[in-house]
Symmetry: D2
Subunit: 368 residues, 4 copies
């Protein structure tokens, strides 16, 4: 554990850290690679990019990062970067201190406990370690759920929402990076639920819409251009697996909130429209004040003034979560609009934000 | 009024009627022209297309329909069709029996009473005559509101939703064709509100999304490709003018329903996601049965079975309104999804459906 | 052969014919189904829709057409239409006279000769029978090329471009429906090459762009929304398999023409920009006159006047091929622009046009 | 002139320069603002943003940069940046050394000579000063063409293509930043025309396609989402005003090259497909070698290997110009594909590249 601890508390300008990324083939992996390659603290410490372990008896195969993602080609020497076969020896040899897992859920369940054992901190972008309650985890059907290792690992996991758990993340060994939809809804609602202003008995409605990158890189009937373009469709009705994150982080029960996602015909971006009844009449100024105070010190949340709602185009390719609202004349019905880029604040950008916290750096370094 | 009456009750295969369209320059006007030019009853009776009246002292100017809308060019002789300057003499001379107004609200306020006076039936696509309650009309700021003529005209107007007011439309002199958003929400909710199943005290949430053609043909900052593409934005919060139609047609008060529109980066199509709490526990079969009975005899509504929600791509370029739903395990929370093409079932297609009713023809003639 | 002959020469209003469609799962198949279901001659004779033959020992499996293509649901009874397992017995039993093959090339090679043997006319939408010269066919690598059956079948095939081979098609047993790109280029160039006006020694350049439906329904890396959206890419450089059709139909050798396709981020439509040097100076009026005469009697080609080029939006969802041009000041350099919908005039619409010719019906029936 | 000279030759890490931007309301202006605000050399020297001069007698009006371009909001203090009314006094007071003109052509004609007179270097993004030959400038109809001031200013102008005129730019007082289309075509062809390999007598064909941002921010019929989306159209046939730049920079006459632009349904990006006949047979390796040598030392041009053409998605939001090619079997026909982001390498990115050269900084600083 000493190795893990030693990462923390570095705060000098010249500090750096050796990172590694397992799973760089998807959209989040590519964005994470791009962010880390341009991070000011990592100029001289490019991440180790890792692919599948070499199968027993097979020859090691390396691939160029830019062959997989041509858009990463630049003059910074990225041209020579390789994706190397994963092994714990390699991580040790390179002195890796923080490992990003941009892997499927099941793989993250397997790799995270082993990394901690090797004294390597983990930032996991999957849903493997986000949920404390077994009933919320049930949707993932983890094979190892209930084992001692899984319980011990879950106990170390911190939900990686810097705006909610900044201090725990600074000292975390395992950061469970939040889901994209979940981030947009939780950041919009948390000030309200924490203050006890929402009349949750009347039910909160979260109508969320996401670009196609959220559906992953695998070609399927639903990611075909002809299906997604010129279309809009609702999916995952009453059962999207991000729902558990909302319940736990907002301390709500499942009767108090409905979450409904839709597939937008755009590459990236999420907009959530959230309908809340208030227990007591409030003014717009009171609402604005509540949010301003809650997000003081949170550089990656941008609050919008009255009459000026956020839009997807303002957040695409940024790590911001933009939040705006309108209150009706009665002062009792509130509509919140929350936008973010699902691959950045909803995935890789938030992961880098968590890296910054772990390393004691400025929270938004490498993200503006 | 005799001339008006005489249109009704024509039911023979060979029947036709002389129509006219005022305001053919917009998207709805172009779709209306296309539908009427291909309507089986109107093969030998093309509509009279009308533009602005000739200004005093100016020379009459005619324009080719296909110069304005090149996509209307076909081998049916559409090439020669002219847009002629409006005058009541021209309408009389051509024997026009039904006049479509695809005009701005204020113009429809002016033209409709005069047409009725000339014994011409009117199908108005604007919002001019849709609303009975003065407080709901207030949003339009009609200058003539409260005058005797306006009151008398309003009294003759029938809300042109065939599924709700089929019989009144058959005998109407003035049909107020519904708004696009309003149609999608009203058709989805009417069976439920009429049956008294919705727990309206908990509030109904209607989150609606529309393609850009709904914003009209005028080039503005918001219809610019760079604004709309790759984006999603909410607008008209707590104040969209279709709200009044929802209240009147669903017999709700403004505390019982929230309607929130969004601008989708697609040319056409509306999807409304509607969240309802039920007063009593129901089964999916009961819900399905309620809708099946309500829409028996309504050829332009397609009901979707469980686990198979409608999508915008299924309705684009059709006159259908597709309605589907999912009920949660508790049997108390219902999500309805309703889709239509805003230019067809949401405007010109529904107008032709109303023409069919007025003329005693099959309700879906010329619409499949 | 008698059965085949009997189809021809039907010309009365009430005439119909029993058709069948093998391969209805792709985009062209769905469009073909839609066109045939709404064809005025086929109101009472819906096509037989055919899927894979039943495998030996397996039970016959039927599927609803509307389960595969929900957009085909309408009030016309399409809801009950089944996709039945293919067998020659079924075709005989139903009295099928014309069989559409919307199948992969290899399957069309196998089915077409057998259909002719059964006295059934064939309209094949694949590339199986379009090319006379073995060297042009080489790109398809047909396994049966050179066999007696293949030679005999090829000898019966007529290239299904009504504007070029109208009379042969009327009497054809096997129509090889043209490729989508090929149609757009051939129709734009044929008047010019036939008149001998093009200076082919200087080389003709065809820069073509197609929507994503041209790439087929199979989900692949290139049809993924994230690949196609917000992008443009060139592909098939110096080797697209439609090139052979250009060479044969325009009587050019491969030095005289370059054809380069691109993938557009739109669902459907092709625009070809074609650059030609003229042997002698011509006026715009002379060019216009040449085309007008060539396409007199061709209802599905629309010629655009000077200064008014066609665009994809004008042809999408129509069976027209729009052709326009600009001539430079010297009168020696010509740019032609040709547009069509790749699924209609470029595939299923042209196939129905060919059906109309075979049956002696109006060439554009069911296509406007 | 001394002030102007003094900007040059600064080469230390800590060097900076005071810049100003006139015309920040358009897409290029917004991108330029973004680039300058994040340029490592300008961290402590944000540009002065300038709007219209105060009209005589009117009160000075300031506007927030982020009110105009909400996407520029970030934690770097951009929130407070103002757009100030232009005046020469203000420029002097702030010590402005380099003025970017992101203004319409006519305004750039007026401002550039005055700036030079005030000893301020100019990087002009308009077409005002790009063309040496009067006949090529004719298309712009400059009112001041032929005046002494105009001649003297033109004589000082350097065409701002760093890859072609790097040394002249370093010492230029007035940089005429190239057109977006022109950049994509010139960079693709220059190695070939300079080497004398292109058979220009047979004619070079440049088929170019651009995203909608190239059409400007003004809402017009052609920038309306409904016009541009799901469409492709050719425009500016035989007369696009970037043609003159091609002729001058490639030393061709107008018979030797055809340039044809098209409007793509995407926000940004240009792809040019260029067809060239070669005088003599070449191998792909010889072509590749020619380009590699020509662009050695040009960090913003990325050359693609055989069988791997560039695409718009690889260059969007970068300052690269990607160039690839395919040679046919004969070794005589070449297809070049060139891609860039029209707002970056085609406008503001190239302008910053020129700033870097003027200031003696690394050519790609602030651009990766």
């Amino acid at each position: 554990m000493n190795a893990v601890k030693s990462v923390t508390n570095k705060r000098n300008e010249g500090d750096s850290v050796q990172t590694a990324v397992l799973g760089v083939s998807g959209y989040s992996g590519a964005e994470l690679a791009r962010l880390l390659l341009h991070h000011p603290r990592l100029k001289n410490t490019p991440p180790v990019f890792l692919g599948r372990p070499v199968a027993e008896g097979a020859a090691a195969k390396e691939e160029l990062l830019t062959a997989l993602h041509p858009q990463l080609r630049d003059g910074n020497g990225s041209a020579g970067l390789k994706i190397e076969p994963f092994s714990w020896e390699l991580l040790k040899e390179r002195g890796v201190k923080v490992l990003f897992l941009a892997t499927p859920h099941e793989q993250s369940r397997a790799y995270a406990p082993l990394a901690l054992e090797h004294g390597i901190k983990v930032i996991d972008l999957s849903g493997a370690w986000r949920l404390e309650a077994a009933e919320n985890r049930a949707v993932y059907k983890f094979e190892d759920d209930g084992t001692e290792v899984a319980k011990a690992t879950q106990a170390k996991a911190v939900y990686g929402s810097p705006e909610l758990h900044r201090e725990e993340i600074r000292n975390a060994e395992l950061v469970a990076n939040p889901g994209c939809y979940a981030t947009s809804v939780i950041l919009a609602l948390k000030p309200l639920t924490e203050a006890g202003w929402a009349d949750t008995e009347r039910g909160i409605v979260c109508d969320a819409k996401s670009g196609v990158s959220g559906a992953g890189k695998a070609p399927t009937a639903k990611t075909h251009f002809m299906y997604a373009a010129d279309n809009l469709s609702a999916y995952g009705v009453f059962g999207h697996r991000h729902t558990g994150e909302l319940l736990e982080q907002l301390a709500l029960n499942s009767d108090e909130i409905v979450f409904q996602p839709h597939l937008l015909p755009i590459p990236r971006g999420i907009l959530s429209t959230i309908y809340v009844s208030l227990k007591e009449t409030k003014t717009a100024a009171e609402i604005a004040d509540l949010y301003t105070k809650f997000y003081a010190g949170s550089p990656m949340v941008r609050l919008f003034g009255a009459g000026n709602l956020p839009q997807i185009q303002y957040v695409v390719r940024t790590n911001y979560c933009d939040i705006g609202f309108e209150l009706d004349k009665s002062g009792r019905r509130l509509i919140l609009v929350s936008c973010l880029d699902n691959l950045l604040k909803g995935a890789s950008g938030q992961a880098v934000q968590n890296l910054n916290l772990i390393c004691g750096w400025g929270e938004s370094e490498g993200l503006e």
